[in-house]
Amino acid sequence: MATYDLTIPISEQDIRALHVGDTVYLSGVMTTGRDAAHKYLIENFIRADKVPASEEALYEELQRLLKGGVIYHCGPVVRQDEDGKWHFVAAGPTTSIREEPYEADVIAHFGMRGVIGKGGMGPNTLIACREHGAVYFHAVGGAASLIADAVKEVVAVYKKDEFGVPEAFWIIRVERFPVVVTMDAHGQSIHAEVEAVSQAALERLVGG
């Protein structure tokens, strides 16, 4: 279990050097995205015959941000100051498994190097991590004020009015955002391991 400092965009080589259990401090610009965002990415860009004209500008921006980038499953508490600038007040991860039907396609389409969330993801995402060179970064669920401290600037926000504050794409600049690799690009998943161990314990506890 090693510790790394990585800056976004991240190279494939740096991602493939990571293993489950490693601690990583992420710096650079990332975007939040959760339920509505993933549905939007799939419907408008990934499974669409043609990108709608109204969405072309955001598509270009997201392609630029997500190439070698990271999407953070997070619906923050935000505050707007007198100058109209947004700030993150509380910003822990949301449960990632809801994005399991979409994430593998999002990783492949945008060339993402990582996903940050909590609770882990399933076999489709794990396969995509191995095939495309990406990892699942686990942030501490509920550690919202602590993580908000690592968010140094809200660079932009997209789809706030349409999706609402928790579901918008918040583009944020972070410094030393603390995460643990729980699914790596070598097919290893702490979540699959813990599930297997707990299943054996459950059988013992209800079988006796």
């Binding site: 449960t95 609770g119 919202a144 707990s198």
Partner: protein, 289 residues
């Protein structure tokens, strides 16, 4: 009736930006049990650091400030209509002050109302009681843990769980296994035996207000709570589902009458951020606990 709106804002602020002392102490004890340097110990360390920071800065402990669930116990003369209006105004104000995230989403349009008010939102339970003071209990229940709640109907054949406390034990263990780390373990379980499907969950959430160190007055339930604390922690799911010694740090069970045909076990899973707060009002004097 006095306008208590600002006092209700303070109740929300306290619930969102701090943890009850017994919950924080339980998390500290859990950290001491984990292997130093393990992912589980690291997660609990970050959790405790986060709680201290949230308290100091008056910012939400967790960004998912959850569904505000109000249990209001009131004397006969109180107007529940006025209380509801004042609490709703307080919830909107607490949202504007960033103590709450706007969380009320229209299920048809997908639109977020922006102020935590909507159809059936927040949740209220009013109960007239014999006391002469007003008591408002608030639970901020996050979505991650709400999603891993479960309701079983006994008998439940996959686990050979019958209509007895052994059957109850089996389905509760199954629920905690199914949840893995997705409900932000370590968690607290509020459980209702019996009742109907709707009130099963209402009573299960009432159980979450019990102090962690209280002892169930029904000896058979007290024994079951203790057994389940032990068994759930044998699952080795641990904080955040990283593996570890503490998967739950509270099990609270209430038994309610049921229909002969129905035996429901309703399980309200609460994340480690068990954000409950209480306010009492007597002769115009407001106190918080």
């Amino acid at each position: 009736m006095n306008d208590l709106t600002e006092s209700f804002v303070e109740l929300v602020r306290r619930a969102s930006t701090d943890l009850p002392a017994d919950v924080e102490a339980a998390l500290r004890a859990a950290q001491a049990r984990e292997e130093p340097g393990s992912a589980a110990a690291g997660a609990l360390g970050a959790i405790l650091e986060n709680v201290a920071l949230a308290r100091a800065n008056s910012t939400p402990v967790c960004q998912d400030t959850g569904t505000p669930i109000f249990y209001v116990s009131h004397p006969q003369e109180a107007s529940t209509r006025e209380l509801r209006a004042q609490i709703e105004a307080a919830v909107a104000e607490a949202t504007a002050r960033a103590y709450l995230r706007p969380n009320a989403v229209d299920s048809l349009t997908g639109r977020n109302s922006g102020n935590n008010l909507g159809t059936g939102y927040p949740t209220f339970h009013f109960e007239e009681w014999e006391e002469d003071h007003l008591r408002v209990d608030l639970l901020l229940k996050g979505g991650g843990s709400e999603n891993v709640g479960a309701q079983y109907k006994l008998p439940y054949s996959p686990l050979e769980a019958g209509r007895d406390l052994e059957g109850v034990r089996r389905v509760i263990l199954d629920a905690v296994y199914q949840a893995q780390g997705k409900g932000c373990a370590p968690g607290v379980l509020g459980i209702a035996l019996g009742s109907d499907r709707g009130y099963g969950y209402v009573h299960a959430k009432e159980q979450l207000f019990r102090p962690l160190d209280d002892v169930n007055p029904a000896p058979e339930l007290a024994a079951l709570e203790e057994r389940l604390m032990h068994d759930c922690n044998e699952l080795d799911i641990g904080p955040m589902g990283f593996g570890g010694k503490t998967t739950v740090f509270g099990v609270k069970i209430g038994a309610y009458h049921r229909l002969p045909a129905c035996y429901f076990v309703s399980i309200a899973y609460n994340c480690w951020a068990c954000r409950r707060a209480q306010m009492t009002v007597q002769d115009g004097k407001v106190e918080y606990a």
